[in-house]
């Protein structure tokens, strides 16, 4: 595969990096990244991956764009309110970089469809906003031996960790089970600054790009935490938990499972 003149120009700032070069750019163009959740985290992740020339981007989300999303979900515009997020996001990506193939799933990701969904991708980005989905993605990626980036944000804080099969702990090592759906504080509305989602979602895109190019050191075995108010980034070193139910010595979770979604998060019906 050789580059066209317009590709050489479009990706010149990638290619000029010695760590990327022509080789890395070819890997990006051949790369396939699945983004689950086209919201606050998924929006910047999808846009930076598309801009970088990642050849295939999968988007899965059941929601439609709401006016209150636009404060942080920068892949959607005012004219998209009411439209399915995956369609709105696909249009933005295609306008940004028509070379990218965008696959969409407008519906919930469940234990029934997740293994098939992740199968064709090199890397998965968890851009979801609820714990059942985060545990589902973790378990599926561990069982399916798929690299993925977990991230979470709240108020002025964010965190992320990368899982690569055989390297370091999974999300369930850090948190053995999700908080119960009836946990009282779970449904209280919280705020978040849009730029917080931008910071953390962009870091997820960076992890995907590094993984695809095979450069640098992935954020495995370390939970990176970010406090925007104090402007502190901390890398917390964490080891695998030998008793982990999905990646430990004696796994009891051998296929993906659905946890009950808190009633307040049940805003969408499966497609």
């Amino acid at each position: 595969m050789s580059f066209t003149d317009s590709q050489l120009e479009r990706y010149s700032r990638n290619i000029i990096l010695k760590e990327v070069g022509v080789r890395g750019q070819k890997k990006l163009l051949a790369g396939r990244v699945l983004i689950i959740g086209a919201g606050g985290l998924g929006a910047p992740a999808a846009m930076y991956l598309a801009a970088a020339g990642v050849g295939t981007i999968g988007l899965a989300d059941a929601d439609v764009v709401d006016l209150s999303n636009l404060q942080r979900q920068i892949i959607h515009a005012t004219s998209d309110v009411g439209a399915p997020k995956v369609i709105s996001a696909k249009e933005t990506i295609e306008a940004l970089n028509p070379e990218v193939t965008v696959n969409t799933l407008q519906g919930l990701v469940t234990s029934e469809n997740i293994m098939t969904l992740i199968e064709g991708y090199d890397f998965v980005i968890d851009g979801t906003d609820n714990f059942p989905a985060k545990f589902l993605i973790n378990d599926a990626c561990v069982i399916g031996a798929k690299a993925f980036s977990h991230a979470g944000i709240i108020r002025f804080q964010g965190q992320l960790i990368t899982y690569i099969p055989g390297q370091g702990p999974c999300y369930r090592c850090l948190f053995p089970s999700p908080p119960p759906p009836d946990a009282v504080p779970t449904c209280r509305q919280a705020g978040v600054i849009g730029a917080m989602a931008g910071v953390i979602g962009s870091l997820q895109a960076m992890e995907a790009i590094k993984y695809l190019c095979g450069i640098g050191t992935p954020l495995t075995s370390n939970l990176l935490t970010y406090n925007a108010l104090t402007m502190e980034f901390r890398k917390i070193k964490v080891a695998k938990r030998s008793t982990c139910q999905v990646c430990g010595h004696n796994p009891t979770i051998v296929k993906p499972l659905d946890y009950e979604i808190a009633a307040c998060d049940l805003k969408s019906k499966p497609a």
């Binding site: 606050g40 850090l174 509305q189 917080m196 964490v238 080891a239």
Partner: protein, 72 residues
């Protein structure tokens, strides 16, 4: 004894359990927090019995979702 909590070293009484440390540090939802001591994750079930030793490096890991719901 001295413990390093989230990167900051402080003085605590001796013979402190993880549960007592969570109280001393006023962790709002101890039932949902993950604790690591010297980079090792501690099982929730042993928070009462696990004692801290001087020089231990302790980290608290919190659930973070998608930013629009409170959890803790």
């Amino acid at each position: 004894m001295e413990l390093t909590i989230s990167g900051t070293t402080k003085t605590f009484p001796d013979d402190l359990s993880v549960t007592e440390l969570l109280e001393a540090e006023q962790v709002a939802t101890p039932q949902y927090v993950t604790v690591s001591i010297n980079e090792e994750l501690v099982d929730q079930g042993s928070f009462d019995s696990r004692k801290l030793a001087s020089g231990d490096k302790v980290e608290f890991l919190y659930f973070m979702g998608g930013g629009t719901r409170e959890l803790y």
